[in-house]
Amino acid sequence: MTLRRIWYAIRGRAYPRTVGAMREPSWIFYDLTLPILGVVAFVFVYRALGAPPRFTGYVIMGGATIAFWMNVMWNMASQFYWEKHQGNLELYMMAPCGLVPILLGMALGGMLATTLRAVVVVAAGVLLFQAPLTVSSWPLFLGIFALGLVALYGLGMFFSSLFLMWGREAWHMVSLLQEPVYLASGFYFPVRALGLWVGLAASLIPITLALDGLRQVMFPTSHPGLIPVLWEVAGLALLAVGFTVLALRMLRYMERISRQEGRLSFRW
């Protein structure tokens, strides 16, 4: 009974992000065109510099990855902030399934919808710029991708517990975690360029290792990897477990604090 309830909650919360989103087709413009515009701008930067074609591939991969980061930040981490404003958070708290299945539903729906968008961004980039994107090992590619997603959405769940406490700061903090993260994680250039130690520090953000690992699989001879790709896989597995456990514990803790301090329905 409990498992069925949890599954219903997950499915129910994933529904608006997958099937429900189809009812508002404007996302096609905003979720596909926006990342593509960003990709095009940075491709032109490399063209202005006369860079080799593989850099176009870097930018396309980075642009697709931004879709995941934006989804995790705006639709996972800060989601409870929006829910406060809509008055849904109190309903979530009272629901017999608890917050975790709701977060898992958000994550599942977000992963599916964003993967579709990322595929379109990559396809558009390849078609527009004839970027050389080939995969040297599909099992490794899919493994890195899956582990990266779990770790990234675990991070999103961890952040969402923090955002239970925040009001207007939530909006600004999500904004703050854009360009600095694109820089630290090497969205548009090999993260190795930042130096080994900075790159390793930035690897706390799962996208850093995932993106570098995927690039190593796609450009095995020319990409200057941060660390060997199998180490990156191990690191991602560690982050996936770590962030998920941390998120669950943090969520319980922050929920209790928020109730004590009366911040759950505190909108500003």
Binding site: E24, S26, W27, F29, Y30, T33, L34, L37, G38, V40, A41, F42, F44, V45, Y46, R47, A48, L49, G50, A51, F55, W82, H85, Q86, G167, R168, E169, H172, S175, L176, Q178, E179, P180, V181, Y182, L183, F187, Y188, F189, P190, A193, L194
Partner: protein
Amino acid sequence: MVARTLRTVKVGFWLGWQIQSNWTDPFLFFIYSLARPLGGTFILVFMFYVVAGGRRGAMLDFFVVGAALWPTVVAALMGLAYGVLEDREHFKTTQYIYTAPIPFWAYLVGRGLASTVIGLPATILTLAVAIGILRIPVALPVDRLPYFLAALTLGVVGLLAVGMAIVGSLFIVSGEAWRMPEAVGQALYLLCGAIFPVTVLPNWLEPVARALPITYWLEAMRRAVLSPDAVRSFPAYSDLAVLGLLAAVSAIWIGAATLAFLGGLTRARQQGILDASSTF
């Protein structure tokens, strides 16, 4: 009427300043104001160095000055757009502001100006980092000061005109209204020569770039602070010609923005959605 308009701009400015700056303590606000522009600038710097193999080049100066100016562009456009959205969706105060005996547009211009002023320190500090750490040859000789001030003033006018045109559309957009300003920002980032010369754009996109005041503003500001042999978007034009084009295109955009603003406002009132929250 003029006094009331100016007073409204002033109050809009004060309100915008409070909303955007009082959500945290001044130190965190300072970090916040600086982190994004510096992040954006250093992305370009690393892209440059990865390709150039650590060597310097004129294109780096072009990138860095454009990236430093971009926060002001974003702040001006977003300030106006989010002013409308926050009042309508977040604070739910549109009906009170609209029915108050003030020119609504002047209030919004005040909000946009506040945001522009908040964006300027990020530009200045990014340029300071560019000079101090990246050794970019940015300088403002006294004889270039009038040109710089003229470009800055015209640029802010042009930016507010583009922002008001966006506002006109926002009045009648509901569901995805929050994402529209960002969409426009991304498009402008691509089109107006912020991070690469517009000559790199495909031929069919160049006329679009030339129709935007921001393109000429960025070019004029680069000419004011970089040496004459720097990379340029319009190498065939003289400095004065760029300034003249900035003034002319801004004037056209003021006309377009007036039409868009009035058209959007009228349509929203006819449909009864001026203060309709679309949820977010």
